[in-house]
């Protein structure tokens, strides 16, 4: 039986950002530039950009507590037909996003039964093909996976 060797993951970019509000825009712009030409459609690129921005914002605010001297680390790799963006903060066991007790429910939000906020993780989950979270000591990483040429949830291609 012949086995086809899967190419080793290729690191496309790695960078750090100070944990200052607004720097998520820098992350999304740089990731968008890095993955340009790798086969993501425009609509899926927009989804990845939104997911990267939301995850970086969570890392800045909730993981690193807006302390500029603690960087958010971003790494972009290509693994076969997958683009993986890893965004790390030093929030450790502390959740790097406020964990809502329940899924965001617009009707409840409109009626005052839920805070109007709490959309970040919900948006991320709905933008990418897979989202994983790992915690290693103080290092908290969210992994965003997007397949090139594929379709995200509910997307028609």
């Amino acid at each position: 039986m012949t086995q086809v060797a899967r190419p080793a993951p290729r690191r496309l970019d790695a960078f750090e950002l100070p944990s200052e509000p607004g720097n998520e825009r820098l992350a999304l712009a740089r990731v968008a530039e890095t993955v340009q030409g790798l086969g993501l459609s425009d609509s899926r690129l927009e989804k990845l950009k939104t997911a990267v921005a939301e995850a970086t914002m969570n890392a800045i605010e909730h993981g690193n507590g807006n302390r500029a001297e603690i960087p958010v680390e971003v790494e972009v790799t290509q693994n076969g037909d997958e683009i993986v963006v890893a965004i790390s903060d030093q929030g450790g066991e502390a959740p790097s996003a406020p964990k809502p007790a329940e899924e965001p429910d617009l009707l409840k939000k409109l009626d005052g039964g839920q805070s109007p906020r709490g959309w970040g993780l919900f948006l991320i989950r709905n933008m990418v093909d897979a989202m994983d979270i790992t915690i290693n000591g103080q290092r908290h990483t969210i992994w965003l996976t997007m397949r090139t040429g594929g379709a995200a949830h509910g997307e028609h291609v």
Partner: protein
């Protein structure tokens, strides 16, 4: 790179239009609240508020929360909110969050205004 949210308001017969530009994020809270207040403040009987996003290049989860707050206030005041000019990406986010169940979406401001106020004489 970052562009602050700005809002221009105008009142038409039966509807107020809030034309947003820049980024709808946490920093847009005062702009959006003040724009809504300006739009409806002197027109208590105003039935519809149009949010135009044609010149908006970024909306994040905090911006979505602001839009939810505007919608909640409008509903409490028995006003309708409609939106125009969203890009396909943000239209999808309005669908995913179910905002589009409560906010009618128009492709552009002209469509929204002509629908709400009828064809120009």
């Amino acid at each position: 790179m970052a562009s602050m949210c700005k809002a221009a308001t105008r009142v038409l017969p039966g509807a107020a239009v809030i034309e947003l530009s820049g980024e709808v994020d946490g920093a847009a809270a005062d702009v959006l609240t003040n724009a809504y207040q300006t739009a409806v403040g002197t027109h208590a009987d105003l039935g519809t508020v149009v949010l135009d996003f044609a010149a908006v290049d970024y909306i994040n989860s905090t911006g979505i929360a602001l839009i939810v707050s505007v919608l909640a206030r409008a509903r409490a005041e028995r006003r309708k909110v409609v939106a125009s000019g969203l890009s396909p990406h943000y239209r999808e986010i309005f669908d995913i969050t179910r905002l589009s169940d409560f906010i009618e979406l128009f492709p552009d401001l002209d469509h929204a205004v002509s629908q709400l106020t009828g064809p120009a004489a």
